[in-house]
Symmetry: C2
Subunit: 355 residues, 2 copies
């Protein structure tokens, strides 16, 4: 991006952010002059904390795939741009884990590092390893690539189906650092069912999904390390992580515990097992005092978000294929209307894997 | 469409159809000359039976929203282009109902009328009336508009929740004709559950979905009346017609029969009720000897269709948002891959309502 393009991106963000923050036009003009000078002198510019906070929140609001956007304005935004040593970055990540987990009362949180300084290799800060063995994959098949990388870097896991992977990040494109997560930082929930005995499944999951491999773009500035989290919607665990055939693939085991007839597709055994697995996830998180939302409530909250946005005279963009829940989608209003999948800025984007 | 455009459309259809039918190049050339002459003389042209059959089948194969396309080549194509009186059209429609129903062993069937001659007002040949009453809608809310029209035309229904609507069609844009369906032509299935007592729901549905308001386009020719049917996929009945809140809305009743806790979304009572309603639909149709397919089997059949098409070196186009089933979509392979929603010809299209 050349200077003028960056100035355009910066100004267009400023215009919207300052309008939303109800800043007066003089302040906006002053700040624009400042940013123009900074870009012309250094080729880039630096956001104030207030801009960073508003930008990160707007980026969530603009996340077309996210059903949780009602709460976009309540996120805790942690400015970690001054973290410049391995220790400082590690501390910032552990601090995020702690603040976000909050003993189960999960707080939507983002920690933003200086552009270009840090790159986190983990897909999420907490995730289970996946090992290729002679008897098939042990652990989370989705983590096999990353686990192989981490092993190459010298890490050894115990080899259970739920080994928490270490933090891996680079600083200034230097050698990757591998740092084990202290056990007491990783809240986890054993999945039990209110009626059936699910203990033979050995199903558990961690409390907080902290996406750590996406790029946050605000006003033309790319934050390549900006881990963020909300709380889980139950189906993410019960209908995907634990159920997909290329993940923990638990539906046959659930059906067997439930003693249902799996001799034909038409008994809908998969559907029955799926619903009970999802009930168990919601039940267990609630029992453990860990925030979680079911897909019906989440859809209702999203409807409220749509109403709020209409009031604010902003268009709601959305990606229907991600917004519909993977369990009983037609029971939510989302299924029955179209969404325009226009990508607005600020936003969160995929970036190339660093390994 | 001017003559040259029509010739282009005709030829492009001919090229593909004759290639698939393994006709020799000379036959193709001869037929092209014939069609060019016919268009230049009359402004339109007429398909041979073979072309009509192949075109209707290709149109099914190209139906991006349809998960049932594995069977595209097995459809019975009935040429009713010579039907030119009210009696002949009525007989053709009743014949379709009979041949397609086939005592429960449903045959995919299409009946094609002369372009411009007939326009069927029904959305499907068999459908339940919907009446607006002081206590809310009785019957199928989706039929309220059409039912009002039919009442304006002098028809009177009994007023139950399952009154079969009459056939309504125009000929040569003349006055609409209203013709009651003989009861013995309309196979219906009472929905019962293998374990729970569903009798208080009064749920039933008809055997054969015969879409009668779409336009079939083949080689530039529009067939505005070409009712077609397959058999049902269970979710169409159990997860939409009987479940949607703006249709028969049975989930609360199902939950009450099942005696499940509906005090909170997180009990997933809607999801549990939905699965059991869908089980009941599949169970009842099977018990009644009426063809039906569950969504898991349908997805597998669609996968086979994709493989067949790859072998035939044809691209499979699809509309993901319609192809995924509305129950447990992520348990099917369809959920996990993208489809290109390119509209090929021949195809079935929506057309403006005639009322
Ligand atoms: C507060 C509770 C939240 C809930 C219940 C929630 C729910 C969801 C769900 C169900 C998905 C789809 C995930 C999938 O199918 O893999 C999603 C995606 C997403 N959400 Fe949220 N979310 C929350 C908070 C957040 C926050 C705090 C942010 C960012 C600040 C965010 C940004 C996103 C993004 C960028 C995606 C797409 C991820 C991707 O492309 O892989 N969400 N969210
Ligand atoms: C043989 C069994 C068949 C099955 C199981 C099947 C299944 C389905 C399903 C589940 C849908 C989605 C319906 C909805 O969500 O409302 C659909 C749509 C469709 N199918 Fe099929 N189908 C079959 C036969 C046929 C035939 C024979 C044709 C045409 C010759 C056809 C053409 C279409 C079209 C055009 C649509 C889209 C309808 C619309 O836009 O409203 N299908 N099919």
């Amino acid at each position: 991006m050349n200077h003028n393009e960056l100035i355009d991106e910066a100004f267009s963000f400023l215009d919207q952010a300052y309008y939303e923050l109800e800043k007066d036009p003089a302040a906006l003009q002053l700040r624009k002059n400042e940013i123009r000078d900074e870009i012309n002198a250094k080729g880039t510019y630096s956001h104030t904390y207030e801009e960073l906070e508003q930008g990160a929140k707007m980026a969530w609001r603009n996340s077309n795939k996210c059903i949780g956007r009602l709460f976009w304005n309540t996120m805790t935004v942690i400015d970690a741009r001054c973290a410049s040593t391995v220790e400082e970055v590690t501390n910032a990540l552990l601090h995020h884990l702690k603040v976000a987990t909050n003993g189960g009362k999960i707080r939507p949180t983002i920690t933003i590092f200086e552009p270009g300084k840090v790159r986190i290799w983990n897909h999420q800060l907490v995730r289970y390893a996946g090992y290729e063995t002679e008897d098939g994959i042990v652990g989370d098949p989705d983590s096999v690539d990353f686990t192989n990388q981490v092993i190459k870097l010298g890490w050894r896991g115990v080899g259970t189906s739920h080994d928490v992977l270490p933090l891996v990040f680079t600083m200034n494109d230097d050698k990757p650092l591998v740092i084990d997560l202290p056990e007491d930082h990783v809240l986890q929930v054993e999945v039990e069912h209110p009626e059936y005995d699910f203990s033979s499944l050995g199903a558990k999951w961690y409390a907080v999904p902290i996406i750590s491999d996406m790029r946050l773009e605000i006003g033309g500035i790319d934050y390549g390390a900006a881990p963020f989290n909300g709380w889980y919607m139950g189906t993410e665990i019960g209908a995907r992580n634990l159920a997909d055939t290329d993940r923990y693939d638990l539906l046959p085991k659930v059906a067997s515990v439930m003693k249902i007839d799996t001799s034909s597709n038409a008994t809908l055994w998969k559907d029955r097992a799926l619903v009970e697995l999802n009930r168990a996830v919601l039940y267990s998180y609630q029992k453990a005092g860990v925030s979680i939302v079911d897909h019906h409530t989440a859809a209702k909250q999203f409807q409220k978000f749509e109403q709020n946005e209409a009031k604010a005279e902003r268009e709601v963009t959305g990606n229907w294929t991600w917004l519909i829940p993977p369990v009983s989608p037609a029971t939510t209003h989302i299924f029955h209307k179209p969404y325009k999948n226009k990508i607005l800025s600020p936003n969160y984007f995929y970036q190339e894997k660093p390994f």
